[in-house]
Symmetry: C2
Subunit: 225 residues, 2 copies
């Protein structure tokens, strides 16, 4: 029996959470890392398979999959409803891919599960420098949510956000420092159109990802050159 600290990674199979997973494996040791993946009627349910494959490849023994397909009973948006186009409504502060309460739901379910496993550390790849300004990616939300979770369950969760202040360029650097730059580039799925790796190259998510990658590769070349 080991007293080694355990961790639960909220894991989507995208660039950000995959980088967090790889860092957690380095920092906690493979056997102490669990991960949890949510699916809820995403347009591209392949996302779940991408996450499953990465977790299996990385030797994660405990990968919990949670189906939140009831989510569209209570609200809707372009990620949940395949008849809607992804767009930034001119009159709205947020793009129509905002799923109200999504991150809070992820953290709450993750925390309930973590407590059932005796896990206190929860890692998430949320990032407030991200382009879309989702309110539930802000650090102030994460800190408030952490306090609320601890009060709700009388437990000492630590919600850890390694990417909170990083640009996409810096997240690529992090993957490189973990020796996993190519792995993250080729294996992860961030594209709104469901294309693994480089992606469709046209959706906002692909553009952000590629711009960060190009910037990082340029700076790396400069250093190496």
């Amino acid at each position: 029996m080991s007293d080694a600290k355990k961790v639960l990674v909220v894991f989507s199979g995208g660039q950000d959470s995959t980088t967090c997973l790889l860092q957690a494996i380095r920092d906690y040791g493979r056997d102490c890392v669990s991960c949890i993946t949510f699916f809820y009627g995403q347009k591209h349910s392949d996302e779940v398979n991408v996450a499953k494959n990465i977790a299996a490849e990385q030797g994660i023994k405990n990968h919990k999959l949670i189906n939140l397909d009831w989510y569209n009973q209570i609200t809707t948006n372009a990620l949940l409803d395949s008849s809607m186009e992804i767009a930034q409504d001119a009159g709205s502060a947020y793009p129509n891919t905002v799923v109200d309460g999504r991150n809070m739901m992820f953290f709450l379910v993750a925390a309930i599960y973590a407590k059932s496993q005796g896990i206190k550390d929860i890692i998430t790849g949320v990032c407030e420098t991200d382009f879309s300004g989702y309110p539930d990616c802000r650090d102030v939300f994460i800190k408030s949510c952490n306090a609320t979770l601890n009060l709700a369950m009388d437990y000492s969760f630590h919600v850890i956000t390694p990417l909170m202040q990083l640009t996409k360029e810096q997240t690529w650097k992090m993957a490189d420092e973990l020796g996993m730059l190519d792995y993250v580039y080729e294996k992860t799925l961030t594209c709104y159109n469901g294309i693994v790796g480089r992606g469709c190259g046209e959706c906002p998510s692909c553009e952000l990802r590629q711009r960060g990658y190009d910037a990082y590769m340029a700076s790396r070349l400069k250093i190496e050159g």
Copy 2:
């Protein structure tokens, strides 16, 4: 089109939330009151039917039912697992009817749904003077959760807790002042063994309910006498 303030009541069909529902009907007007009921593999799914009947009888047009039966994928306890006996474990601070994160889940789902309906006021019957000391019934949790919800969705929810500081005796008084004492006594379901109204008379919930009722009736007789 009316600008009247709307409200969503988290409604189980028990004494507390029924009293809150009746008060909301008085304060907001019947047509401005919606309610939401959760079920998740309770031993007594009749609870849902009790809630449905009360809401219909009270003329609530919008009664949302949410199935959380996936909850036992992430944690378990005596309310979710019919093979467990309800008990207060001697070594534990809490009875084994605690469902980790339950109220936070209720408020989160209620809030997501409320926002989709343009509703900001959310009423819940939670009460920190309650006997069991559930951590997610405390006022400090509710206030923290309210702040987190507002940050998560960039919205101004008001989580309202009319019973927070009341004893059961005072909650019966409130029903009486609404002219609904007998209605609440006869129609609601609080009993762990699923018996409507007076209940089994033996579970902790029935004992608490009856003790409060007896105390209120004694004090009322004294005043009337």
